[in-house]
């Protein structure tokens, strides 16, 4: 590691650069994520202004969910957690890009405030507004690893059911 190397009078450049590059990548992906969020929010807002409630999914389950406090809390919590982790990552890039003798790395309370506090706030926000609570019904058979497969299976069952129903109806009409 970079600081260990500096202790043993070895080159610190390589380890330093790897750490800063990793943190910069975190900042970069968070930035892309925030741009995607902003784009979706803007488009949704525009459609809502021109179409009203019809702009949203009219599935009763989602209508009920959107009007509840859990969902609003989740959106707030997710935004808060994103900003906290982004802030923290920017701070860490600034801290470590100065090297092991920089001005920021010498200040413990900066680390406590911008690393510890930011991350614990993000975690508690997600603890309180855990998507497992918010998206209760929407998650049955949806979401998580392997959700695509599950969804296709559900779709297949549905179409199989509806086709057999129409068969019954057709035979009744006859």
């Amino acid at each position: 590691m970079a600081s260990v190397a500096s202790h043993q009078n070895r080159s610190v450049k390589a380890g330093d650069n790897i750490m800063v590059a990793g943190l910069a990548f975190q900042v970069f992906t968070l930035l892309i994520f925030m741009i995607l969020c902003a784009d979706f929010a803007l488009r949704t807002h525009k459609r809502f202004k021109s179409m009203g409630e019809d702009a949203f999914d009219q599935n009763p389950m989602y209508r009920h969910m959107r009007s509840g406090w859990r969902f609003k809390g989740f959106l707030t919590g997710l935004a808060l957690a994103t900003i906290c982790i982004f802030w923290r990552s920017v701070y860490r890039v600034a801290e470590l890009s100065e090297g092991w003798q920089g001005a920021l790395i010498k200040r413990q309370w900066l680390f406590v405030g911008f690393e510890g506090v930011m991350v614990i706030v993000a975690c508690f926000a997600l603890n309180l507004f855990n998507p497992a609570f918010t998206f209760k019904e929407a998650m049955e058979g949806l979401g998580g690893i392997g959700s695509g497969k599950k969804m296709r299976k559900q779709q297949k069952e549905k179409t199989a059911q509806s086709s057999s129903n129409s068969d019954v109806e057709a035979s009744r009409q006859v």
Binding site: I85, L126, K136, A138
Partner: protein, 151 residues
């Protein structure tokens, strides 16, 4: 100052015998006395968060990938702050320093992964017609493909 310069030139095994009384703090891995109360508080808070996520998953059995990401992150935070407490006990100890720098640097990346996975659900809730790209595409774009192999 001269002491510090000399200490920096000595080998790691000599610094390993340093204590707060015998060596200047700047010859350790930190430029300050690592705070025990602050790091013990964070250790406790992250442990509470860890229990919260474990309990939520145990009770609901929902959002497996989200919980996997958040649990990984919070466990790394707990280990990281344990490393910082080890550093408080001996600021010249390489293990404590390495544990905290590695764990605390990568842990939030896992939490960010959990956050990325959630956007898709928000898009479904508002209606995918509002979105430029499909809900599943959000997950594919921002999450590490090797960490979360989505269908």
């Amino acid at each position: 100052m001269m002491l510090a310069a000399r200490a920096n030139k000595t080998h790691a095994w000599q610094l390993a015998n340093c204590t707060i009384e015998t060596c200047p703090i700047s010859s350790s891995y930190y430029y300050y006395r690592v705070s025990l109360p602050a790091n013990a508080t964070f250790l406790a808070l992250f442990a509470i968060s860890l229990i919260g996520f474990l309990a939520t998953y145990a009770l609901t059995r929902r959002a497996l990938a989200f919980h996997f990401a958040l649990l990984s992150g919070v466990i790394l935070e707990v280990i990281g702050y344990a490393g910082r407490i080890q550093s408080h006990q001996n600021q010249w100890n390489q293990n404590g320093f390495l544990i905290q720098i590695v764990c605390l640097t990568i842990a939030p990346a896992f939490m960010a992964g959990g956050i990325y996975l959630s956007l898709r659900r928000v898009v479904y809730a508002f209606g995918p017609e509002n979105s430029r790209i499909s809900p599943e595409a959000y997950t594919r774009i921002v999450s590490c493909p090797f960490l979360f192999p989505h269908e």
